[in-house]
Subunit: 334 residues, 4 copies
């Protein structure tokens, strides 16, 4: 089922943008784990909107309530469910949203799939807001990975094709002024992952991280190590030479393989990049269709929107990667 992920660390994300709540139900957390709730909240705050000039000004508390699975602050072996109440009341006239899908949005494909029954308010179940419960599941995984000496860290590599801070700033400002939006690339590195995790073929590290990361709205590409760049290399260049380091551990001198060989971890850092398309919601007038009137129309998306969600995407990528890696870790433990 689409909202569920994982084999051993398995969770289901629920909620819509304007439902009473969003949240997540997690199976597979070991009994006796005491989540650091402050650290989790800080992690959630990293993805929350309303903090910068290029993010939406909508204010959300995003404070999860853990309604099951904890006793005196520690896990007890029962599934953990956390919910975040939505404070934005469902209201107003959604008729236009039903009729005119926003280009680049899930509006149209959702209309085909669910018909008039779909929840259009605030993007419904396709809202970027659903990354908050992903960050709960991933944030807990991050804490458990840290106990094993594993870190997962993501950063912005480029925005609108620019990699330098000044150029990025200029690109963002120009897009904002134009009522437009820009995309970007997030790079994520997981260090300390032991060698030997993952299964051959469909159960490999890359398959599973990709499955998790493509769940983040706007992700259109995932590559590991040298990725697409490797396609232009020669083997003698791309192959990473092995050597014994000073501690007698086998390592590679370069890391074009991005930590995965044959889908199995090599012990080198897992490195991958996720490409984000520009936010579809823009003020600039676009061509669309009126699904009821059955005619072509013009559309200007109203309201305040992030000109660049990539600014808030790094914790989401960390969360997706951490969930996948922790799942692999549990699997590899038996």
């Amino acid at each position: 089922m689409g909202n569920s992920f994982g084999a051993r660390y398995r969770f289901t994300i629920f909620g819509q943008s304007h439902a009473p709540a969003i949240g997540v139900t997690i199976e597979g957390l070991p009994a006796g784990f005491t989540p650091d709730m402050e650290a989790l909240q800080a992690f959630l705050d990293r993805r929350a909107p309303g903090k910068g000039r290029y993010s939406t000004t909508r204010k959300e508390a995003d404070a999860p309530e853990f309604v099951s699975g904890l006793v005196d602050g520690h896990t007890c072996g029962a599934p953990v469910t956390a919910i975040i109440r939505n404070t934005n009341a469902r209201s107003g006239d959604y008729e236009n949203l039903f009729r005119v899908p926003r280009p680049g949005h899930a509006d149209f494909s959702a209309a085909v799939k669910y018909g008039r029954n779909r929840d259009v308010a605030g993007g419904g179940q396709f809202s970027g807001r659903l990354t908050a419960p992903l960050c709960i599941a991933g944030g807990l995984a991050l804490q458990l990975l840290a106990e094993e000496g594993i870190s997962v860290s993501a950063r912005i590599l480029s925005i609108g094709g620019q990699t330098e801070p000044d150029a990025i700033q200029g690109t963002l400002e120009a897009a904002k002024q134009a009522g437009d939006s820009v995309g970007g690339v997030i790079e994520c590195v997981a260090e300390g992952v032991p060698a030997g995790l993952g299964e051959p073929m469909f159960g490999g590290v890359e398959n599973r991280i990709a499955q998790a990361v493509f769940a983040i709205p706007a992700v259109k590409g995932v590559e590991f190590g040298a990725g697409f760049g490797a396609s232009a290399m020669r083997g003698s260049e791309n192959n990473d030479p092995f050597y014994f380091d000073d501690y007698g551990v086998v390592r590679t001198r370069t890391n074009h393989h991005g930590g995965a060989l044959g889908g199995i971890t090599s012990g080198m850092p897992i490195v991958f990049r996720a490409a984000f398309k520009p936010t579809p919601s823009i003020a600039i007038e676009q061509d669309s269709v009126d699904l009821d009137a059955h005619e072509n129309v013009k559309l200007s998306v109203q309201g305040r929107h992030d000109p660049c969600i990539v600014l808030r995407a790094a914790p989401c990528v960390e969360a997706a990667a951490a969930a996948a890696i922790y799942d692999l870790l549990l699997e590899g433990r038996y």
Copy 2:
């Protein structure tokens, strides 16, 4: 489990390069389907080695025997199992393979995961030969998709960074002469896929095609539509305008979204690209380690190897995509 894929069209691939056989067990084929065995064999032949100047000269029949699931040539509702006998006898001295992992190969990660118990002959379960049963499962899916008016077609987009035939030819020849290898990019297009397939978040079209495609050895990146290129675009450029075509069907004027919006198919062609790294097995001497002697050593990979597996990879990508899309189609049918 790693060798299994799919929710409704579910199969498990088995075998090693030098085991008695490789094959696949498939659940979910509808009863009453008569596979076109000649078409399937022709499809398998497209990925078979031994046909060109830049492919290995190893000859394999790759003729599957269907040992279950068929009656008088049609499916009966029982699981379908097909096996391909391996004719290359397991023989010779594998001691060096146990000791010295080839850079860029699964040799090392497999050594960590399975220890001395692993099958090293011919790459064992990590051999590219395992794409043959993938092509059986995918080839049957292709035939079933064709009955629904859906086609899946892959082609070489670039090799060694070159996109023009002459330049590709030159790149291949140079690599072969140098005892080296080159990678490339395969582009795949699925046409006729109905809108509304796929599930939100982890069950989307992109998640599942990526999970399937990363199972093909040497794939290091997967991108949909404009992919990584979209990260440098503005929303007004990347958003695909909707319109009603002459038949009253909603379409988009461009297809930067690659057929998936919010993980759900839009009815536009699904377009994705897979990046293949260069074949790790090269004649050029490389640095590696002797896992037993615990020392750094030099390694030259002997034997005949493809300087470029991308030449044979297109049917594998089609197979992986077809399996994922057929699985989505069955899921969407209920």
Copy 3:
């Protein structure tokens, strides 16, 4: 994962007896379904305690709040999550529960599995209270099945080995006076289930109903049709003769097969029985162990307990069966 059930109608039950809440997250509900909330509440009330002389006097509202998946009262295609707040505050001294497991309870096996981290208050995640969210998932399935003309109905067949009302009454009164408890048998019948549902072997109707029903605390046996009685019959007696009824439908004159042949539904009513052991919690002194002091001790379970949970079990059995049958129905629809 243990708290999850189903392939197409898939739900995860969460909560503990004294956690902030219990609840369920459901994937697979069709978009556009409007649950009859009054009917659901009435169904939940059937399993609620506090109504009869032989049930606990603990009062619970058991009014679910649907926090996701609904829009204007109908499903929208997103997962549905419902929670029930626990009003019984976690308090008091649980030390004795940690030390001395109740005979017949999950106390001991939970202690081995989760150690001191387990939630012992009110039975934790092993509490019969967790059948409330099962009844939410099953209650919604019942409504969806009713739309297809399928009914699922359970009734008490025997209590303490007695089948007559007067004898049952006597048995209950005697057990209550003695501070003891009694078990019983629930019979469940599903009518209107179309023929052809279910999969061979592990995916049969019986396998899946059994998997669901054994989730209800205290169930120790499940049998279909003639069940254990069939083991003493001859084939000529147990085989159900086929005939065409007046509407040209194939039916059987008897129903010893209980609606399933080869794991596939026959179109005849699905009939099964579930055996419930007597409630383990009794006032009578029993032998147990002190897990900390490592010595044998005597135990009298304090508090008010149902002398017979079978009186409240019928809706739970209906819920489990309905969830399994609706899952089969969705599966069979593709």
Copy 4:
């Protein structure tokens, strides 16, 4: 999918009675395990027909060929596939089988599910012959369990309602003479299973053993410990008192719970019973229907059939239980 079982020890059974082969593909076998092939063959021989006066005289070799997953006789981490060639050629006129379903058989439900495409020869995929690959998967699990000090052993408890050898003999002879058949009960005991295995609710020991055992054709009931008998007991009688044994291990003085409390193993022997209905194939004339002519007809099943399959069922029950318990063991190990 119906032919697959297990989460960590996962296998898919394939084949039909008269297909080229039957077999099984297993994922989850640890690398480095050397199956005792003689012991496995001896185990398979226990379920093979043709050995006694009350079994069919059909001769089958049932010698599995392991086509993948082994290297030099030991597992290598790749999936293990074993096939058994069917020597009974598919031939003759199956028209009658298509038209007239045998009472008590899967003939009718399979006809509804798969239509004319189904394989009717020898029972197709519903043949008891499919228990041979179950015995391969279960037989390997038995060997792995034995390495952990766990034994699984099944025996005939009753046949035709009789429990004494002489009475059983008389019942069998009478049924054979009458061209009739009889059912029976198999009891299975697993000793040495550590406490703490299994998951709450749907993932419990009972749920999973039941799911496996109901896959054996003719099983109509499964009960654990005191089972249906517990429904007539009082709590004070059914509750198993705890005590510390001489080794300081917590045990119960009786074992009415059959080794599972709250779905979690207690460390006491797992005890369960499976009820087998009498073989449906009998020579006595029965009422059936002609599905093509759409009229009621008489049917006498021709050919040699077991008057009592229970005589050969014990290894199948052991296999199903062993597979489920080994799966639980792997799951509990992480």
